[in-house]
Assembly symmetry: C2
Homo-oligomer: 490 residues x 2
Amino acid sequence: MKTLQSFKARTGEPFGAPLLAHTPEQVDSIVEAASTAFASWQASSGTARSSLLRALAEAIESDRDELVSIADNETALGPVRLNGELDRTAFQLRRFADMAERGVAFESVDDPAVAGAPPVGHPAMVLQRVPLGPVAMFSASNFPFAFSVLGGDTASALAAGCSVVIKAHTAHLVLSNRMLGLIQKVLEVKHLPKGLIGMVQGGGSDVGVRLVAHPLIAAGAFTGSTRGGAALQAVANARPRPIPFYGELGSINPVVALPGILQAKGAELATLLAGSINQGCGQFCTSPGVIVLLNDPASDAFVAQLTVALKALQPHAMLTPGIRQAFDNGVAHIAESGVKILLQENGSPEAPRPFLAQTDAINFIVNSELSEEVFGPAALIVRVDSVAETLQVLAAIGGSLTVTLWGAEQESDDARALVRGAMNIAGRVLFAGVPTGVAVCAAQQHGGPWPSSTQPMTTSVGDTAINRFLRPVCVQDAPSWLLARSGQPC
Amino acid sequence: MKTLQSFKARTGEPFGAPLLAHTPEQVDSIVEAASTAFASWQASSGTARSSLLRALAEAIESDRDELVSIADNETALGPVRLNGELDRTAFQLRRFADMAERGVAFESVDDPAVAGAPPVGHPAMVLQRVPLGPVAMFSASNFPFAFSVLGGDTASALAAGCSVVIKAHTAHLVLSNRMLGLIQKVLEVKHLPKGLIGMVQGGGSDVGVRLVAHPLIAAGAFTGSTRGGAALQAVANARPRPIPFYGELGSINPVVALPGILQAKGAELATLLAGSINQGCGQFCTSPGVIVLLNDPASDAFVAQLTVALKALQPHAMLTPGIRQAFDNGVAHIAESGVKILLQENGSPEAPRPFLAQTDAINFIVNSELSEEVFGPAALIVRVDSVAETLQVLAAIGGSLTVTLWGAEQESDDARALVRGAMNIAGRVLFAGVPTGVAVCAAQQHGGPWPSSTQPMTTSVGDTAINRFLRPVCVQDAPSWLLARSGQPC
């Protein structure tokens, strides 16, 4: 049996007792239990789903102090952020509970019979939606609550009528197991099978690969690195019966700032942007990694302001030693790629210092590795000669969760071209503020072209996240008893 | 330069002059033209899109006699079917024209700002939809109009604001080139770039692979064999930037007929089912390939009736010698897999005879190749002892465009279980009639779990087919000039 050990992120000391990794046989039996639980849960009412989701929200809220304390030890993200994240997680659970009650999972399109020959005539058709089956849900390192055990993926999958097998993240194992304990109590009180929300843990990729490859798993949901996500997606694609794999991977989140707005309020924006780069030690999928500036005196001033603002900040410890090391490697790689260093200082073994460099459009476009995400408080300024060159830089990035456009308040040919260029590569385009901070709402789109997502037509945050787990099925000439269920499952 | 030759399906004689296959460089330049055309077409109005689609519908209608005659020579599908298919193709073009006019491609979700801190408070967000880019569209062998040059994939992609590069099917090259001539005239009259709808042709997979691998292609749409579709999907997945690949592949379309309804009207249903198996010489993606019958005297009688009904039918010539040969191979493979042959006769070199065999549930489940589609007028009866065994047979099939359930008019535990089992593996569940004949309407779902589709959450027929080519993009704190466009593109 392999053992696993959690560590304190700030000191590297062991945290909690060693835990056992799941064996392949244990993974299989947890998946089988999820499959059995799915058989009844897919036929559950919206009220039953809502009731479970609300009870889970209450359970984490009532254990808040202990959960935040454990999470703070394991992640170093700090109690303010972690309390906020726990609030968000409970909010997400209740939002999907509301959707389950409103019957979002059971919405259907009624298409009554039309008399006559085809193509005009057709039988009575109703387009319904059915849950996919057991979902393999991979927790993220950087959101121990909101994108982990009871995060948005789990909440939306349960609301859709799917069972869930969670892969705990090794960066917060103690927290994950405490969450599992809360879940199991809630399931017991609700007389629901334990298998409805299972959890597996293991180092390396063994447990994760076993999970995605299991024939009873119907979909994967993942938040993490491009490398890890791409590897699991390849497993999902190589199955005898491939399954949808919803991966939210790396993103570089370009910010395009035009000279006009920098002239008007460059200092304010530099402080705002430095804060966003440094937020959570840059460990956000929406952390701004590339800043595109036209060659203009206002841009020069902004670069100086941003450098000063970043230098004044003190990033906290990173999530794990591996992530800390990867940051140094990533920064070293950028530094060697023909860029001009603006800010590079030695950090501690746990906490890095912010990094800032500058290059021109041609060097950025030629060196495709400069478009790769460096996870942490690093950013690269790309100086361009024109809006046309800006568009080339965006096209070279190709896929990102967000693009931020500062200074497009007035309509013009340039503004329209920049909006088009931004929309072509991103899932969300911001015209004010910073990309960090992803609202949980109806119009959110957290997913863009590769490598930011494996399935850019879907989102992992916001109301439409539930659609990932519901497959459309048309019933033709359905008997009246089935239609009387109004999309409620059999 | 490689040359290509079209043939008469009924005789194997050459049809038309030899044609040149496109070189890799020519494919590239056609894709580049599609990319240039996309830059303006993505910003086109719904009225402009509708006007193009309607003109294309008129163009094929006014060339009907010649088009049907060419198609009949190349496919042997007969003028009645081909005239109907041309009607359907024009109907599809006009239906997507209506949708373009109604602004379906520009629909958005308005999510006004909410004051306060997160998770409740959020900025003003609007969820819009943007066209993906140039689409590589692969024509099908078996639908020379409705799933080919100006078929549903092309119509829905154009309505979404995408440009299209068509891969002509080698089984109807003369038809495809005549269609291209019509398209180019319409584009000229409308002052639209020739590159908006391009076409490539070539034998083997060279041209198709080049197309899907091209960096400027943003999505693939394909109707054809599981083998061909899986190969192209692998190319799409292996790109530096993977793209969505919408493949509609093989499907075995099980029909479950319960003893009660067979007792009541078995003879009528046998005639209906034989007609569906034989329709278009069985060359339909929705052709019923497996018939699941409970062990019961009514089922025995039905098997005898179906055998007689099938024996009386005369399938016409198949589309190509390759498809004809594949049918014989597929039938031989079934015949060797522990089944009882009910009907097997020698056909002509062009036209096969219907094939019918019977086996039990265990043999069917153990031999997974019995779940593979045999393209042509072949069906396999699977006899089962119980509803539970029926569910096991459906689960073994795993993915199908359709499941047909005859005899589920009354609600019961069995009926509910069968509906669930059918919905779990299919995109469309029919309770009357036969699966051949796919209505073009709002509630259609033509796509199910693998291997029937590569993307089971989408459909290639019906109104929601347009969603395959529109990616959601959220605009946050968008300027008023952008919001005033109400989702119309920049």
